[in-house]
């Protein structure tokens, strides 16, 4: 357990992605079977245990410690699992707190698999006595069913691939043919067996991605144009018997959108944009804000599904039955998609229409005329391009709408993370009310150059008027031109507004703060 609990500690404290990948790769290379397989399952969210309730953990701790001291400790530490892990009393006659190595991760998983509600407190307590504080924390997190170490399934798989010099997309392709503790996967990774055959399982295929359009124009004889919808990219994988949904990162989000998965009975792999029905986006989809209500939920209520009904606007087909279409030109895949969509439930699926324009200038005019803020811009897809994983030059372009901008006043600054931890690099900015008060309208931490960051950092340090823990309040004198993709109503902020993708476009040293924009002015841009 020690190797695994140290891995979790490392993942909690390490900020950089590469650092996290190194930690995962090292563990996957050095830990024994089947421990490392269970660890991979836990990190990718595929470890299915009978979750022990938080109240059980609390009761277990109260039985072993003074309940008053336990409550005081919990008030101080905050997190229940961490409190119990830290104050768990040493076993009789144990001088130092040690992981005595009698419990392997797989032994723990076996016991948690078998545990019942009634036996949980005794089984858990028995294991706690053999672990150190890190081990106890890891055990309690496993038992309550959420590691929360801030990594995605994709990152865990990437770390695994890195450990054995594999291509993560190859891992992804066979992933769903496998079940924890992934013995066949490790055998293949170490060259001891063939790659597991994923046939017949609904596994994820890596997405094809787009480059931002930098050229002045493209030839529409070679490129087709579609709207760029403001939802989330989703892949629907159906085998006829089972359907799964995957996010852009390759995470399985079927449980979040059962309404979509249940409506799809086809044997095919489709690519599209997941949206919520509403009045925007061509009159059928709601803004991204509405979709956000449905994101990130492990379970979804009937109420959520009826208040925010989801549908998918399809734009590509990767597999039709067992037929892999990815090597075909886009035009042929589009034709296949157009024959597939009419057979689907029209309540849940439609097709992303092409924008018909004779030439690029006309297209530019159509793009400029799209007032609907929930359209992000235009996609340009090469008509003869195959469907290839990742971002390949000159095949797909995203041509985003020009951002909106506003002149805002810097109000607060906070230090960044990792390489930026010595810089005040996160800025909260505001606009004026009619009464001459500044209200925060957003926060940005990108868009500036390294030189500009140094200048901003110096500005914050020399113009601090107040400190609140890690946050500095600054003299309200600096105007920042903020660019953002769209702006929405929000109950979360006092100004009632929330920006999408705000970033610092320019530092307006020339502009006096009282000439910055007003909240009322910003409100007129709300989509």
């Amino acid at each position: 357990m020690r190797a695994f609990s140290q891995l979790l500690d490392g993942l909690v404290y390490t900020r950089s992605r590469n650092g996290k990948l190194d930690l995962i790769a090292h563990y996957m290379r050095t830990a024994p079977d089947p421990d490392r397989g269970w660890a991979l399952a836990a990190l990718t969210g595929n470890l299915d245990l009978n979750a022990v309730k938080a109240s059980t953990i609390g009761a277990m701790a109260r039985a072993r410690t003074d309940p008053v001291l336990f409550e005081m400790s919990r008030d101080y530490v905050g997190d229940l699992a961490e409190t119990v892990a830290l104050l768990w009393p040493r076993a009789e006659g144990q001088a130092e707190e040690v992981d005595d190595a009698t419990l392997t991760l797989s032994a723990i998983v076996d016991r948690l698999h078998a545990v019942s509600r009634a036996s949980a407190p005794a089984v858990l307590a028995g294991m706690m006595d053999h672990l150190d504080a890190s081990g106890r924390f890891a055990l309690l997190k496993l038992a309550t069913g959420g590691l929360r170490v801030g990594i995605s399934a994709r990152l865990a798989k990437t770390g695994f691939a890195q450990a054995f010099d594999l291509d993560v997309d190859e891992v992804e392709e066979c992933w769903h043919a496998l079940a924890p503790p992934y013995t066949d996967l490790f055998r293949w990774a170490e060259g001891k067996a063939d790659r597991p055959d994923p046939a017949g399982t609904p596994f994820f295929r890596p997405f094809m991605l787009a480059h931002p359009l930098e050229a002045e124009s493209v030839d529409l004889d070679h490129y087709a144009a579609e709207w760029k919808w403001d939802g989330i990219r989703v892949q629907i994988v159906g085998t006829g018997r089972e359907t799964r949904l995957y996010s852009r990162a390759g995470d399985d989000i079927t449980a979040t959108f059962p309404d979509i998965a249940q409506a799809f009975r086809h044997h095919a792999v489709l690519d599209g944009e997941l949206l919520v029905k509403g009045e925007f986006q061509g009159g059928e989809a709601a803004s991204f804000n509405a979709l956000q209500q449905r994101l990130g939920r492990k379970a979804v209520t009937a109420r959520m599904m009826s208040d925010y009904p989801a549908f998918v606007r399809l734009y590509d087909i990767l597999l039709d039955g067992e037929n892999d279409l990815r090597a075909l030109p886009w035009a042929q895949r589009r034709a296949a998609l157009e024959t597939t969509v009419p057979a689907l439930d029209p309540d849940r699926f439609d097709i992303s229409a092409l924008i018909e324009a004779p030439d690029f200038e006309t297209l530019a005019g159509i793009r400029a005329g799209a007032r609907d803020a929930s359209i992000e811009g235009v996609m340009l897809k090469r008509r003869d391009s195959p469907y290839v994983a990742g971002r390949k030059a000159a095949l797909w372009y995203k041509w985003k709408r020009d951002p909106l901008t506003a002149d805002c006043v810097m109000m607060y600054a906070q230090r960044g993370h990792g390489k930026r931890s010595s810089f005040y690099s996160d800025y909260t900015f505001g606009c004026w009310t009619q009464d001459g008060e500044l209200l925060p309208v957003g926060k940005a931490y990108s868009g500036f150059s390294d030189e500009e960051l140094k200048w901003l950092d110096r500005f914050v340090r020399t113009n601090t008027v107040n400190r609140f823990g890690p946050v500095r309040e600054v003299e309200k004198s600096l105007v920042l031109e903020v660019a953002f993709d769209s702006i929405h109503d929000s109950k979360r902020h006092k100004s009632g507004l929330a920006m999408r993708f705000p970033r610092i476009a320019r530092i307006r040293r020339d502009k006096p703060a009282n000439e910055a924009d007003t909240v009322a002015g910003l409100r007129r841009l709300v989509s």
Binding site: L69, E82, L87, E97
Partner: protein, 347 residues
């Protein structure tokens, strides 16, 4: 993190009949027959000082009694001029009170002040710990009637691991990243020097680079015979040269502009607070090292059992929990709520 609630139990239950010859005040402990204050936070004519940390030792007193080491630290930090050194184990008499200084094991020169008067013995510990520390003499328990203790880590979640294993984790991180350096935040008086000595004790004899704010204190430790090995500045040294090296700085410099000169540092911090994940995360620490100069929960409670006082006074920290612990064992105890104690970085 929520602060602990105010004690709800009325304190008079624990209070003994006044007047007593020793009086707790918010600004320090007054020893009436000697007309002297222990660790006063405002300037006093006569001060008895347990150790050199700023929340116990201040400048501006008329005359100070302390160990020779503590006086030297006070001269360096607060320009304290006038003082009488009292070596460990020796006693002075003041207005009918016999006053002795006994090692507290906290930092160089730290002492418990043992006061005897009218057949009663009072021990004021200042800050203390029970673990071995290569830079100071170990804590000596003195049986007494009134035991005045700190409670910085007075919650059962605070249980410091073995120091050696924490230092090994630091060395492992260093060796795993030969192109980077490890920057350790450590309090400038005590923790920094102890960490360096612990590293030397684990066979690490490479040069260690130190922040400018540590230099004078390290020099002072050397004058008292603590050999810190090869120490070098961290400024005016090419970043290249500091790869694979340990850099020690005060905690406040960890995320500050100063650290930008270092070669891709792994940020570490040596403190008892590092036991709580959120504390480490708040400070952007990647390698939390639980190394403390204060007693942890087990040390606090074991020490109270060992000196077996008829009454325990708790000066500062998480006093509510320690008070509860005493009560449930039918031990008399009271919280003093002294002001200005507990420096967040010093733990």
């Amino acid at each position: 993190m929520k602060p602990l609630a105010e004690p709800t139990r009325p304190l008079h239950f624990f209070q003994q009949a006044m007047p007593h010859w020793i009086e707790p005040h918010p600004t320090g402990i007054y020893v009436r027959p000697a007309d002297a204050w222990i660790d006063p936070s405002t300037p006093r004519e006569r001060a008895l000082v347990t150790h050199g940390h700023a929340d116990h030792a201040r400048g501006g007193h008329g005359h100070v009694w302390a160990t020779r080491e503590t006086l030297a630290i006070m001269a360096l930090r607060y320009s304290t001029a006038s003082g009488t050194p009292v070596p460990y184990g020796e006693e002075v008499r003041m207005g009918g009170v016999t006053i002795g200084f006994v090692p507290a094991g906290h930092v160089l020169g730290s002492a418990q002040i043992v006061l005897s008067h009218a057949g009663e013995r009072v021990v004021v510990t200042g800050d203390y710990k029970r673990r071995p520390d290569p830079t100071c003499k170990p804590f000596e328990p003195v049986p007494c009637d009134i035991f005045v203790t700190e409670a910085t880590f007075g919650l059962p979640v605070f249980r410091h691991p073995d120091t050696g294993s924490e230092v090994d984790r630091l060395l492992a991180a260093l060796h795993a990243h030969p192109d980077r350096c490890v920057l350790v935040g450590a309090y400038a008086l005590g923790k920094a020097q102890r960490l360096i000595m612990e590293l030397r004790g684990r066979g690490h004899h490479d040069p260690i680079h130190i922040h400018g704010a540590l230099e004078r204190m390290c020099d002072l430790y050397r004058q008292f015979g603590i050999e810190l090995g090869d120490l070098r500045p961290a400024t005016d040294v090419p970043a290249r040269e500091m790869r694979g090296r340990i850099i020690v700085s005060p905690p406040s410099a960890l995320n500050d502009r100063w650290s930008r000169r270092l070669p891709d540092p792994i940020t570490a911090m040596a403190s008892g607070w590092m036991r709580v994940r959120q504390r480490a995360r708040q400070r952007n620490v990647e390698l939390p090292l639980v190394i403390s100069d204060h007693a942890d929960w087990d040390e606090l409670t074991d020490t109270i059992r060992e000196v077996a006082p008829s009454e325990t006074w708790i000066t500062h920290g998480r006093e509510e929990a320690l008070l509860h612990w005493c009560m449930t064992r039918q031990m008399r105890a009271r919280a003093l709520a002294l002001v200005g104690r507990e420096d967040e970085d010093e733990g």
